[in-house]
């Protein structure tokens, strides 16, 4: 689990507006419930293919994206629903995409692993581990050249530390002082293999070796993530170059929705410990209540609202039509 002291102490409650915190809570809850619905759709055989759930990791996407402007860029991963939602995607079109419907963000052509949306600065989720490191860095390159003040965030799992592309692009980003933030979500597992079996040395030392500002943060603490993100995003926006955030976290569920018997690679106790002691939503709601930014009742109400939005979104997607098969040959070339 996370060993370092949370940087939360450095962040007074006032660092964000109370409204912003409530919005962050709502987003985290939206992602949680969205993902539970995805699992449900899979279990009921209503969703084609598989999906990789973000449950347990919500604080990272929300903490980071809360520090971004709407026109900032992100790239996402196979485990990308949380990033897309946190960057502003609406659940109905997300579900539609997951079901391969025409109303989906990619007209059904992308599916769970390829949600993309120019309107929210989402350059696309990527099913190649580490595959978007270049794209995010390139968006930062454009931002710098065009002088539009945008920042690009590259989300990836710790498994992407195995991909050489990441080192090539970190070198480029630091050489050219590009406004890109590399966000490593260390959820402890590369699929079914513990990251300690695949990752030598000190993760944070890797970006640092390229001269990149690097921070480790408790990925279950949305306020810590947000505070750190704010700092590095503003630093990048100010022309001071890239940063790397290592966020310690845990995925509660299987690698994908079909990964239900997990005992051969991790214990139930380990899972339970994270769920009961380190749940990002629980930690955050406790804090909100303790600091009188919300009452339990208010949060309950919010949860219910979120639930009904998500339920409606699922219905929307289930009822939406598939694309015409003739669309298959459209958009191969622009």
């Amino acid at each position: 689990m996370t060993k370092q002291k949370s940087v939360i102490e450095k962040t007074p409650a006032s660092a964000a507006e109370p409204d912003k915190y409530l919005r962050m809570y709502q987003q985290m809850m939206s992602i949680r419930i969205f993902e539970e619905q995805v699992n449900d759709l899979y279990t009921r055989a209503l969703m084609p293919g598989l999906a990789h759930l973000y449950i347990g990791e919500e604080a990272i996407a929300v903490g980071i994206c809360s520090a971004l402007r709407p026109d900032d860029y992100i790239t996402s991963t196979h485990r990308g629903h949380g990033h897309c939602l946190a960057k502003g995607a609406s659940p109905d079109r997300m579900f539609a995409e997951l079901l391969g419907k025409e109303a989906g963000y990619c007209r059904g052509k992308g599916g769970s692993m390829h949600i993309a949306d120019p309107a929210t600065g989402n350059l696309g989720a990527n099913a190649i581990v580490g595959g978007s490191a270049g794209i995010a860095t390139g968006a930062a390159f454009s931002a710098k050249r065009l002088g539009n003040g945008r920042v690009a965030v590259c989300f990836f799992g710790e498994g992407a530390l195995g991909q050489g592309l990441l080192y090539e692009t970190m070198n480029l980003a630091q050489l050219w002082k590009l406004p890109v933030i590399y966000v490593c979500e260390n959820n402890t597992y590369n699929e079914y293999t513990h990251y300690s079996e695949t990752t030598a040395g000190d993760v944070l030392a890797r970006p640092k070796a390229f001269g990149i500002q690097a921070e480790r943060v408790d990925g279950q603490d949305v306020r810590a993530v947000y505070a750190t993100a704010n700092a590095v995003v503003e630093r990048a926006r100010g022309g001071n170059g890239p940063a790397f955030l290592l966020c310690d976290t845990y995925r509660y569920r299987g690698h994908h929705v079909g990964d239900v018997s997990r005992e051969y690679y991790r214990s139930k106790q380990e899972e339970q410990k994270w769920v009961s002691e380190r749940d990002p939503i629980k930690l955050f709601s406790d804090w909100l209540i303790a600091h009188k930014l919300a009452t339990a009742g208010q949060l309950q109400t919010m949860n219910a609202e979120v639930k009904s939005t998500i339920d409606a979104a699922v219905q929307f997607a289930l009822n939406a039509p598939y694309p015409d098969p003739l669309e298959v040959q459209q958009d191969v070339y622009a």
Binding site: P48, G49, L50, G100, K101, G104, C106, R107, G108, K109, G110, G111, S112, M113, H114, N126, A127, I128, V129, G130, G131, G159, A160, L161, G162, Q163, G164, N190, E191, Y192, T193, E197, T198, T199, Y264, Y265, Y322, P323, P325, E327, V328, Q329, V332
Partner: protein, 341 residues
């Protein structure tokens, strides 16, 4: 070997068992690992997880994690490592989880593995097997559904195997492991559960020998990997309308058994080549060219090619389904060529 060629189309004998294609691959690996301590397996989640397709289940228990080795997500890195290991006394079998990821190892395979023997004037050898997958319709979208074997088939120094039955998979994989060259072995991920007869006794199938999966006189259906079952299905439908289709499987795109393919077409005078890769600049182009040249005077109409539609594979089921060749498509094409209505 030729006496065994049609075995898979026959009922299992007393000495045969039914295995799935996944089990046949596992058995081939296990046999070769027992036989030769130099054989090691490596790839992502190959050990306790037994790969995401569970093809290697049990091998780490039998051979230990010293010989069934989980790697980081570093396709180029561990492929390069395996090349060096192959040059210096081991016989690595590397696992590239999805065939789409071969895009990450093209330099190591095409510029290194394929050329080491030649560039060293014949001195160093690279007895390496790369197992990977091909095939769509798993609702996995554009980056997990491609059939990119044409890329490797284009590279001198590599051999490329595309098994279509459990029987072939086992015999070909054993030959691939014993081969002194880098061999890429493409497995259709939708076929892992396909069952077929496997002899109890050991056997190998040489690389470079096409197999007639079904005999017929009216039209030749050349089919690879996943498309063999499609061609066999189409052949059954054709039979019902009185067309005898011969289904022939090259089994390896390199070396390519040109002679058998041409012989078959000389007999039938019509040919369709079916492959799940993109037809454009793909395997069907080479095979069709070979036939068009070798059986030129026997053909009464052009060789037809059927491959994946020339689009990135879409996620949405109704879209994805129209991108891959189906029995119906092959049937219609063959019927037309044979002048049946």
């Amino acid at each position: 070997m030729s006496t065994l060629d049609v075995k898979t189309a026959m009922a299992p004998s007393a000495t045969e068992r039914e295995l799935t294609l996944g089990e046949a691959i596992r058995e081939a690996l296990a046999e070769e690992m027992r036989r030769d301590p130099r054989v090691v397996l490596m790839g992502e989640d190959v050990a306790e997880a037994g790969t995401v397709f569970k093809v290697l289940t049990g091998l780490s228990a039998e051979f230990g994690t010293d010989r069934v080795i989980d790697t980081p997500i570093s396709e180029a890195g561990f492929t390069g490592l395996a090349i060096g290991a192959a040059m210096t006394g081991l016989r690595p079998v590397v696992d590239i989880m999805f065939g789409d990821f071969i895009a990450l190892v093209m330099d190591q395979m095409a510029n290194q593995a394929a050329k080491v023997h030649y560039m060293s004037g014949g001195k160093w050898k690279v007895p390496l097997v790369m197992r990977t997958t091909l095939g769509a319709t798993r609702r996995s979208a554009a980056q997990h559904s491609q059939s990119l074997h044409a890329w490797f088939s284009h590279v001198p120094g590599l051999k490329v195997v595309l098994p279509s039955t459990p029987y072939d998979a086992k015999g070909l994989l054993k030959s691939a492991i014993r081969d002194e060259n880098p061999v890429v072995f493409f497995e259709d991920k939708m076929m892992y559960k396909l069952k077929g007869a496997i002899p109890a006794e050991e056997y190998t199938i040489p690389l470079g020998v096409a197999d007639i999966k079904r005999s017929g006189d009216d039209i030749t259906l050349v089919a690879t990997s996943s498309m063999v079952q499609v061609a066999l299905g189409a052949a059954k439908m054709l039979q019902e309308i009185g067309v005898g289709a011969e289904v022939i499987d090259p089994r390896t795109t390199w070396p390519l058994d040109e002679e058998r393919l041409i012989e078959s077409v000389k007999k039938t005078s019509r040919a369709i080549v079916i492959d799940e890769g993109y037809a454009r600049y793909g395997a069907t182009a080479e095979i069709a060219s070979v036939i068009a040249e070798g059986a030129f005077h026997y053909l009464d109409q052009p060789v037809k090619r059927i491959g994946a539609m020339h689009v990135p594979i879409p996620f949405s089921p109704p879209l994805e389904d129209v991108t891959v060749p189906t029995e119906q498509m092959v049937f219609e094409a063959a019927r037309k060529m044979c002048g049946k209505s």
